[in-house]
Symmetry: C2
Subunit: 344 residues, 2 copies
């Protein structure tokens, strides 16, 4: 696990340099201030748009690391997946910038969100620009392979938009919360981009199509495990470690996995439906306690832990089927382990 | 001119069928309602999301027609540019959906805007999906040519976002209104997509690179003429014909071409700056009169008419340099003429 941390840090450093090149290059001079807003979001500039000496934390950059490690596992080198890794990270950030507007989020990674500093219109614009930059990067080679990778990236972007549509419908109560609705949504909102990162890495390595499918399936299982674990921590994560209030997802009436399972049961009590139907701010503490008590009686925590564990084993099976080389194979397996074991 | 109308109607019919295929195909079943929202924006469904027997007016579809006609002018057939034409129209619509949110516009082509019916979050999503669909369409062939065309499309999309950024900065007064600032903005906001449509058509025809450049320059000059004529009509267009109030752009304090010229002059009067600086709703009628009087004394209308005329001649020169075949060449020339002559 120590090795994995070191490898991810190393890949993150490489990626940071490539990302800077991909963003700074194409933006034209009259819109330099606009380019600086993109760099603010990516952690390289402060709210005054001046360069930061120490970049702000920019997330784990797990998706691009997957593209690079899968490529290495398939062909022995990370370089062929350089543009794919950058593109995946830019697509991820495009979706974050737009999500923050849609969710009206004021903070992202402990910093003011882009739209909250420069307004909704520029926020929409900035997301659009990151989307275009992702494609410009991936199409740099101008080859048939680049065309096929970019088509895959866009099928993924369409599914991300669908996932966001389904999530909004679920959170607004337009779609009843059920396990099936949750799974359909989360596969698009989280699973597909993990799967895409892995597939693009395998495509860059010119791996056989069966191996591409196996790596993509590994990514999908990993993405789903990641999200389900996230939903578990949103209720049972130790507040001190997640930095969020205890049972934050219940307080905010988020229809994540626990709520989807509980509300989707035929005999779900009316009071539980009512608790989630409220729109008047946070759920009152006594009601939060009652919901947790109900979830405990249903044994939801253990049930979700077993689901995550099963996805983890599934991811490892898919990984094995892809016949990855060492040492990359060990890192890809360690990523599974680290996600399942995480507490924040 | 009668011929041009007939040809554009014919191309519009073809395009409509191709567009329907490009949009309906990729959206997955659980997000069918989301796909229907996209089809509402494109004029094929009503606000109840049911299919319309008679599609709503969907604009002139000039950009895809340019892609098809340029391709035909360069190689004798429109078919090679089919995917490019659809992609350009989808990119145009992606930018319209996001623009409507950014401008808080309630109506587009006399119908409620997408975001005004289903909310800002779904509006952002819908634009993102149209962006992805444009790329999926253009990348269908999976060839190196498709990769190069899609790279061009994305460089254009980035410039569109820059243009939108510059426009917001200009309208908010963050950037002083000058002719130079206006030109920089409008080249990105309008010119580049016309140029891109023409270049993609020429690329599809595998025209030599000098011809591609000439067609793109024709498109740029045409796009600029189109926008400048639009700005002229926004003040001196007959209200009965444009469907807008007289001098609508002054009433709304829009910093279009006339305002950019007048405000950018070193001796622009302080009262004029103040008239445009106001943010308290519409400009009062007596002030509007005073502004028009000032513009008349400056001879702005004639000045802009001469600019548009010069762009028109420039577009025709570029077209000639591309050595287009007949009859497509005549249609491309007639498009110039029709734009300059238009009164709405």
């Amino acid at each position: 696990m120590h090795d994995l941390e070191a490898r991810l840090t190393q890949l993150g450093g490489l990626l940071d340099g490539w990302l800077r090149e991909a963003v700074a290059g194409p933006v034209s001079e009259p819109a330099a201030r606009f380019g600086a807003m993109l760099e603010y979001h990516l952690g390289w500039r402060g709210p005054d748009l001046q360069p930061l000496e120490r970049p702000a934390p920019a997330g784990k950059r797990l998706r691009p690391a997957l593209a690079l490690l899968v490529c290495e596992a398939a062909c022995g080198a990370i370089e062929p997946a350089r543009d794919a890794a950058v593109a995946v990270e830019l697509i991820h950030n495009f979706s974050l910038v737009h999500d923050d507007i849609q969710d009206h989020s004021a903070l992202r990674r402990h910093r003011p969100t882009l739209w909250s500093l420069w307004g909704m219109p520029q926020g929409i614009n900035a997301g659009d620009a990151l989307f275009a930059l992702a494609q410009i990067t991936l199409l740099r080679a101008g080859t048939a392979l680049a065309a096929q990778q970019t088509a895959e990236l866009n099928r993924t972007a369409l599914l991300l938009a669908e996932g966001q549509f389904l999530d909004i419908a679920l959170q607004q109560g337009d779609t009843p919360a059920t396990l099936e609705a949750y799974e359909t949504m989360i596969a698009r909102k989280t699973g597909v981009l993990f799967a895409c990162a892995c597939r693009l890495g395998a495509m860059a390595a010119e791996a056989p199509s069966a191996a591409q499918d196996a790596y993509a399936a590994y990514g999908m299982a990993l993405g789903l495990a990641f999200q389900e674990q996230d939903d578990l921590l949103g209720i049972w994560g130790a507040a001190a470690e997640t930095g969020k209030p205890q049972a934050a997802d219940i307080v905010e009436r988020k229809r994540g996995l626990p709520a989807a399972i509980a509300l989707g049961q035929a005999d779900a009590p009316a009071w539980l439906h009512e608790a989630y139907a409220g729109t008047d701010g946070s759920m009152p503490p006594e009601l939060v306690e009652r919901v947790i008590g109900h979830y405990d009686r249903l044994g939801l925590r253990g049930q979700i832990e077993r689901r995550v564990e099963a996805r983890y084993r599934q991811a490892l099976d898919c990984l094995e089927a892809a016949q990855p080389r060492q040492p990359s194979a060990a890192y890809l397996a360690a990523i599974c382990e680290s996600l399942v074991a995480r507490r924040t």
